[in-house]
């Protein structure tokens, strides 16, 4: 057991932070019109620097890839880090240029709106047992207007039999790494929103004293810190273990529970200013709501955790 970052991990994340300082961040996320919604330049830089190969790298691995997903998301990097850094390599599929969509629609149904769907050229569909990797025609996608940070679109019919059916068991691999990855994304964003709120609570004066000196708020932030820390280590452990069904579902269940609570508390403590476009809080909290929907959300993660541990009827 070792809860400290290794020298390799530190060096890796420092290098990633430097890259993200140039190709991500709040400023860049506010002006996507100049580059298009998806940040191809960021993806290209990540690829060139080797961050998309961490999963299978001898000196790194899935945990390092997960830590990178967390950082990219915290910096609002406009790419699809979960399929690129985790799911594609876990399936042994070749790298893909441009956004990749993930979906797990109920049998016979089309997926709901997916992130970067209007630009995605590939979708991975997790079925009951097998996963299908299907090409997408961006021209057929139907953009869905949304306030939640990510460009969403309904993707063109993918259930019509096209695409390669991957071997048995691949759906579980996709679900496991998707849960770990989406949770890592949430961790990165939650940490930013939380830190912003704690700073605000220290600086903002109300009734002649610091907002954060009121115990009614202090205990809520303290409980939130317990949830966030718990989620963080659950996600790292699940990644270290290779995203097995139980650990990844448990991590996602706890992370989405934290996400719900964090959204309410940060916005309540920040007050009306947190509801403005000018303030940065929404850059993270609105995107977080999109993560909340993935793979059925908190209730589905909890049922999956239960099923994995005790063999309850699958969700």
């Amino acid at each position: 057991m070792d809860f400290e970052r290794s020298d390799t991990q530190r060096a890796l994340l420092d290098a990633l932070d430097t890259l993200l300082g140039r190709y991500a961040g709040t400023g860049r996320s506010r002006e996507p019109a100049a580059r298009g919604a998806y940040d191809h330049a960021l993806e290209s830089e990540l690829r060139t620097a080797g961050f998309l190969d961490l999963f299978g790298d001898d000196g790194a691995g899935p945990l390092e890839a997960t830590l990178a997903v967390e950082r990219i998301s915290a910096a609002l990097g406009a790419v699809t880090p979960v399929p690129h850094l985790l799911v594609l390599p876990a399936l042994g599929l070749p790298a893909h240029t441009g956004p990749v969509a993930l979906a797990a629609p109920p049998a016979g149904e089309e997926p709901g709106p997916v992130r970067y769907g209007a630009e995605a050229g590939l979708i991975l569909l997790a079925g009951a047992d097998r996963c299908v990797a299907a090409p997408l025609d961006p021209g057929q996608a139907e953009p869905v207007p949304s306030a939640y940070g990510f460009p969403l679109a309904r993707v063109a019919p993918v259930a019509s039999g096209q695409g390669a059916e991957l071997p048995p068991g691949t759906a579980a691999t996709v679900r496991g790494w998707w849960r770990v990855g989406a949770s890592a994304e949430a961790l990165g964003m939650m940490r930013q929103a939380f830190d912003l709120t704690v700073r605000y609570a220290k600086d903002r004066t109300v009734f002649g004293r610091a907002l954060g000196s009121f115990q009614a708020l202090q205990h809520r932030l303290a409980e939130l810190s317990v949830l966030l820390e718990g989620a963080r280590w659950l996600v790292y452990e699940a990644a270290f273990l290779g995203a097995p069904a139980e650990a990844s579902a448990v991590a996602a269940a706890h992370t989405t529970a934290a996400l719900r609570r964090l959204t309410r508390e940060t916005h309540q403590i920040m007050g009306a200013v947190g509801l403005t476009r000018e303030h940065d809080l929404h850059l993270w909290t609105l995107r977080l709501q999109a993560l909340r929907a993935e793979l059925g959300g908190m209730r589905a993660h909890r049922r999956a955790a239960s099923a994995a541990r005790w063999g309850a009827a699958a969700a």
Partner: protein
């Protein structure tokens, strides 16, 4: 970062599990209720000596004080396996987790020589004399007095909620050597033999398990100066450290997780586990138990690296309380009136969970410390 036990600790766990399977096969009735009950404590007295004989009572202590010189992880593996089985060491876990380590860190050579070996051999029980009728969560308000008297001190006052005092040999006792106005700067630690004249123990009838609380009355109790731990008026530093150990010393999440597994078995045989709402509640509780486990592991990692106790122990403790409560609530929600039957799994967990946020510093005190030491929010 690494989330696996090293081979030595994993091998130790395997040996320990084998040993416990054999040793507890006869005469040990596992029960979430039992800790502190008379029958439980009687079993413990014999069991801890067997454990000591194998060097497994105090494996983490230095060898010169009767320990095995092993690391913090091995000690913790021991705690996990014991709690999973209802803690057959009984009140001994307090001795080995924090009374002994406090003596090792702050005791005089004479105190170590006389007091540590009986603990390492499993011959004595200690209890913790902290809370008073008007000083529980607000511990620094304690009023039990210790006045210098010849070559010792005269103690007068009252302790309350003192677990195991009815069977303990010694008490790790806090008393005020300064004035009340000195607050935490006027407190000292005494290592009081409970058979000292003037000590009276009265049980309090509680309903959290068979374990009884006690009141301890101190009337003109004389204790020699050699039983003062550390310096006079410097007891608070020892307490802070002691509490940091105590907060995560008992891996309560391990018991909660085990009870949850049992509740899942119970629910499955009755077809309840098909209910999506029940599945969700189980998944939520499992996640809380697992989060608590990792937050405690993080504290053990700091300890294994010889770092000073950190406020992360407060986060770990808060997470354990949340886990115990979630499992207790689930038990009553899922088991229905079966949970009301005395001694049922649900009954035991629920009643235990009522005390979870009170012992070892209340849940709210943990939150206060997180606020101040981790978030660094301003005081009122």
């Amino acid at each position: 970062m690494e989330f696996a036990f090293d081979e030595a600790d994993a091998a130790f766990r395997r040996d320990l599990v084998d040993f416990l399977d054999r040793e507890l096969a006869d005469g040990w009735e596992r029960s979430e209720f039992g800790l502190g009950s008379a029958v439980h404590t009687d079993f413990s007295r014999k069991f801890v000596r067997t454990l000591a004989g194998r060097g497994w009572l105090t494996p983490h202590w230095p060898e010169r004080y009767g320990g095995g010189g092993q690391g913090a992880w091995q000690h913790f593996v021991l705690g996990e396996e014991m709690w999973k089985r209802g803690e057959p060491r009984g009140p001994q876990y307090m001795n080995v987790n924090w009374v002994g380590p406090s003596l090792i860190k702050y005791g005089t050579e004479e105190q170590k020589r006389t007091l540590l070996p009986p603990i390492a051999r499993g011959e004595v029980f200690w209890c913790q004399g902290f809370s008073e009728p008007e000083a529980g969560t607000d511990l620094a308000a304690l009023r039990t007095r210790a006045v210098r008297d010849g070559d010792g001190y005269l103690l007068n006052g009252q302790k309350i909620w003192t677990s195991y005092a009815d069977g303990a040999d010694h008490c790790f006792l806090l008393a005020r050597t300064g004035t009340v106005a000195d607050g935490r700067r006027g407190i000292s630690v005494f290592l009081l033999p409970l058979d000292t004249p003037g000590v009276e123990v009265r049980p309090i009838d509680g309903f959290v398990g068979d374990h009884s609380f006690n009141e301890v009355f101190l009337k003109d109790v004389w204790v020699p100066r050699s039983r003062l731990l550390g310096e006079e008026n410097k007891g608070w530093d020892i307490v802070r450290r002691t509490l940091a150990y105590e907060r995560v010393g008992a891996p309560r999440y391990a018991r909660a997780a085990l009870v949850l597994d049992g509740l899942a078995d119970w629910s499955r045989t009755r077809g309840l586990l098909h209910d999506p709402g029940v599945q969700e509640q189980f998944g939520e509780a499992r996640a809380l138990c697992e989060a608590a486990r990792l937050l405690v592991y993080r504290v053990i990692d700091e300890r294994a690296k010889d770092k000073e106790p950190s406020p992360r122990a407060n986060q770990a403790r808060a997470a354990m309380v949340q886990a115990e409560r979630a499992v207790g609530d689930l038990a009553l929600d899922v088991m229905g009136s079966e949970a009301l039957a005395e001694g049922s799994r649900g009954d035991a967990q629920f009643r235990n969970s009522l005390g979870a946020g009170i012992a070892a510093g209340s849940y709210e005190v943990q939150l206060n410390l997180i606020t101040r030491l981790i978030l660094k929010l301003p005081k009122e």
